[in-house]
Homo-oligomer: 391 residues x 2
């Protein structure tokens, strides 16, 4: 939890993002590093081009990303770890780190572990029903698998299903986190239930799945877990986790917050029909344009607060020339808000149709990620007893 | 944790028993009931005689034991649940509730669940090594199985091994226990690790293994768990747990505390050789006798503070006439401390030899309790999803 007596305008824990997020302050207070242009350039050794989310600074901050690349260059390798809390249907914001993780796997050809935190989502919400969480978990897994991870180098697991393997390691982690630390880092209070208090142990465990460095693409609100992991990892004889942090995809309703399942008017879900997408964007996407066409033609729009423009910039218009052209035309008033929205709607609908096609095709193959693929099979056979070689 | 500002001479949590235990005060402060002679008599409907531990008030307190007997009389039945924390070798004090549970199974012919809390013991002690805990768990299971439970109506499970079944239920329990409650009931503080804070959920889960009433024979220090269980059980559509509480078997070194593995001079372990038993009793068993034989013959001994007498009374001399005779002779000085000790040594060594014979014989059959017996098999096949029918 961010504590700043001078400015309480926002609050970030893994469960709450409130107010206008000041990313500069997060970087400073969490003690992370910006991803510099030089660091970005190192990726061009492995890829023809940078992923749009990296190029456009959606992934903007990191811890030890340079060390991961060093290890890779030295032939030591690394592994990727990310996750999803299955509290509901997935929206586009949820898919971005997954897509980015897939890109990293493609260029580095490394193992990917994806934790589905059904336990967390069940204990977090007073009203959550287990059956709903499990249903969402299974649906979310299809959405994740759809992005096309290597079926022999990717293991997707639900905490509750894989718990026999996770639990002894989680206990070991839990012994290194006392209540005082957990309260300071996660903002737990006297009303927090003891399931949620234990949960951080479970999220930290997969960073110890291999002895190599672990690189975690995730939104910056997850950083508290990694701060704790980095406190204890070396006591276990493991590497401190490396992280590559993203901003939040802004909700349609305005760029200052985080897209949320609980505010459906601000989010585009992966199963939204083309009509829904059109309706939501037309109705809710916050516009940086002028109140009338005449005023817009005269004064131009403001792309920096225009959510449609931001979405195109962040992800949906990968072409750098094209996005610059849109920016200029919109700023000058040559492009109207309605036209901008129509452009975004089409981009989103093409993306979603493509995603859903892949999702249907993966349905029969999803067991590869869960049980049968080379890595998954190994993970179901493995015992983590070796981690109990106490150091 | 007992809070009493006037008298801080003792402290009881499931992990610490310090100072002279005042059982009357525990009954009052925990809000339990004494087991009355009338309640004891109800057992004579099912058994020819009362178990010595019940007759001699080692099991002295209860919650809703009368309701369990009512349910049994009405044909509704009930089930038994007890446990063992495998932090080391078992001593005689650990075996008493197990022996008593076996007697209850014999007379009522009901299911017994025995939880081996390897998770608890691992997270409780900073220095505990997982491999040691697991080794002790396996050894302890043999000692428990040796008492001869019905192999088709008894399920012994290690938490870490059975966790996939326990975990979703534990999460559900955990949602009903907030930090404030956990601190008040268990005395957790800011230095407590988050594994131990979560653990009470796991100990409560087995009370929901059946929809019948659950009767728990245990030492009274375990009562905090059941107070929480009783707070939440009815919200789940289950019965409040019923408990039958024992005092602690006093250590050899004096009647005022609890036998402890960490003070081996005060405990007789189940694997102590006859020589060890003799040496320990002769050397450490606190005597209520006089300093010299002459004084003893003249003034007599005090059986109420004499540990050898107490052990005979509590468990090792079941014959009521015989124990009364010993008491009288010892009080009058006719029986010397050395003689009393010799009598106890022989009783203990016969008991231990018998126990170890049974332990060797059960080795090949222990899988019945763990995996193959009728109840164990069912428990490995069961899914507790029905408990998620939220109420």
């Amino acid at each position: 939890m961010i504590k700043n007596e001078k400015d309480v305008s926002f609050k970030i824990t893994p469960w709450e993002v409130e107010g206008k997020v000041n990313y500069d302050r997060l970087v400073k207070e969490f003690g992370t590093q910006y991803i510099t242009e030089n660091l970005k350039k190192r990726f061009l050794k492995y890829a023809n081009a940078l992923h749009v989310l990296l190029r456009r600074n959606v992934f903007f901050s990191h811890r030890d990303l340079d060390k991961v690349l060093d290890d890779y260059d030295k032939g030591k390798g690394f592994f990727l770890y990310t996750g999803r809390g299955p509290s509901g249907k997935m929206h586009i914001g949820h898919l971005l780190p997954i897509l980015f993780t897939k890109w990293l796997q493609d260029i580095f050809d490394v193992n990917v572990y994806i934790e589905i935190t059904d336990d967390e989502k069940y204990v977090y919400s007073k009203d959550a029903k287990w059956k709903d969480i499990e249903k969402y978990a299974d649906e979310n897994i299809l959405d994740i698998a759809a992005v096309g991870f290597d079926p022999n180098k990717t293991f997707i697991f639900k905490d509750s299903e894989y718990i026999k393997h996770l639990y002894p390691l989680a206990l070991k982690v839990s012994k290194h986190i006392n209540l005082s630390m957990a309260r300071a880092v996660f903002g737990f209070d006297t009303t927090t239930n003891i399931g949620l208090i234990f949960y951080p142990s479970l999220q930290i465990v997969p960073t110890f799945f291999e002895r190599k460095r672990c690189l975690i693409p995730c939104a910056i609100d997850q950083d508290p877990y990694w701060r704790i992991q980095r406190d204890i990892a070396e006591k276990f004889g493991y590497h401190k986790a490396s992280i590559i942090h993203s901003i939040f995809l802004p909700p349609l309703t305005g760029i200052d917050s985080k897209m949320s399942t609980s505010k459906p008017e601000g989010a585009i879900f992966l199963d939204d029909a083309p009509d829904d997408v059109e309706r939501k964007i037309m109705r809710y996407a916050f516009s940086g344009g002028q109140p009338t066409i005449e005023l817009h033609r005269r004064y131009g729009g403001n792309p920096d607060i225009d959510v449609s423009y931001q979405w195109l910039y962040i992800f949906f218009e990968e072409d750098d020339d094209k996005i610059l052209e849109i920016r200029e035309k919109y700023s000058k008033g040559e492009l109207l808000t309605g036209e901008l929205k129509k452009y975004l709607i089409e981009k989103i609908n093409v993306f979603l149709e493509n995603h859903r096609n892949k999702r249907e095709k993966i349905r029969d193959k999803v067991d590869k990620y869960l049980y049968d693929g080379k890595l998954a099979k190994k993970m179901w056979e493995i015992s983590f007893e070796d981690i109990f070689t106490e150091r």
